[in-house]
Amino acid sequence: MGDAPAAVLPEERMDVLYHYYDGGGITVEGPSVLVRKQLGESFSVQGKYHVDTISGASIDVITTASPYREERTELAGTLDYLRGDTLLSLGVVASDENDYKGRSFNIGVSQEVFAAMTTLSMGYVRGSDEIGRSGDPEFSEELDRHSWRLGVTQVVTRNMLAELAFETITDKGFLNNPYRQVRYLDPESSRGYGFQAEVYPRRRTSSAVALRARYHLPYRAAVHAEYRYFSDDWGIDAHSTRVGYTHATLPRVILDLQYRYYTQGAADFWSDLYPFRSAQNFLARDKELSRYDSHSVRMGVSYELFTARWAMFERGAVNFTYDWITADYRDFRDLRVNAESPGDEPTYSLSANVFQLFFSFWF
């Protein structure tokens, strides 16, 4: 280990990852590959390829018979330019599904000041999405996204780093999920309720601020903590906290433990059961916009495969992580269970297992 670096280009590395998610009735799996390489002393390029292959049937599919996306492919490229203590980044991202096409570009700049004890960063992302609906070639909607990001990273002590981040995002256009539906009381229906399509506002602005810190212990280990507050103009407030421990005293092995808690309120117009059809101008029953709590526990192990140069690589590591995620929805009800009257169904909860296996090589 040397001194903390001054402004530097991203480290040259290659990661090959396989991910697997199983929860809420669906599985998502696929590869993800990242390559970062320097071009001379001042430039660095990065390429990323990511695939999500989705199968199964979530509770939304089961209860409202809506189809779901089957495969998503993401390609991303970034160019970094280092000049003195300033790092400039330009990037593009293309994401494709059978019924959704996302395109975005991003620009970022970071500057070290105060004898490199403080790093200021800012960034902007502009996205343009095209939304379709399977089985409905006439359906076509658009979504524009703008995101502004500010960040300050501070050396606090010789053992502690802290980061303050702020981001505001504005979306304009079609924000619904084109398949999801809301339910309303319908006395003419045998089950007592009916379904109609969601109606969201066509604009959403949100802000989030996060404070995170890492502290190096007297031995080769670190603890970290994070808090994020989120608020948007749909009425959602959310808090997330994360604490973790990284242990690196064993030869070649790094162990990670982490706990995360997340809680959010519901959007103002959200309801699990509206009193009648088209009861409001905006209608939502997405569980993602409902009131709920989530707990996550992560365990990770990294094993250094080689430390002396091998072929074109300086070092390499194999990594395995396991995340256990639970979510307890306070108001979103499980319609798979029959109840005596609508609204008496039990609330829904899910538990998910997430596995990642990846190899990392540094050039």
Binding site: T78, T118, R145, L161, L164, E226
Partner: protein, 76 residues
Amino acid sequence: MARLIRCLIVLGMLASVSACSGVQPWVQPYERDRLADPIMSFERDPVSAAYLQKLYDIREGARGASGGSGGGCGCN
């Protein structure tokens, strides 16, 4: 939202004041060996971190300020 903006303005003012007040760096470059340890990185494994963050973004109403400078994915 207004509280957030006020908070940021105050933090910005504090940063400006500290930058102009003649405060000297209190951690010298040769004292930063522990800070340079990879276990102190906010994003030690970028692919894994981006994947997990995306997983949260899809399931949760909240988004943004999730860390990781540089490329950014712009994909919520």
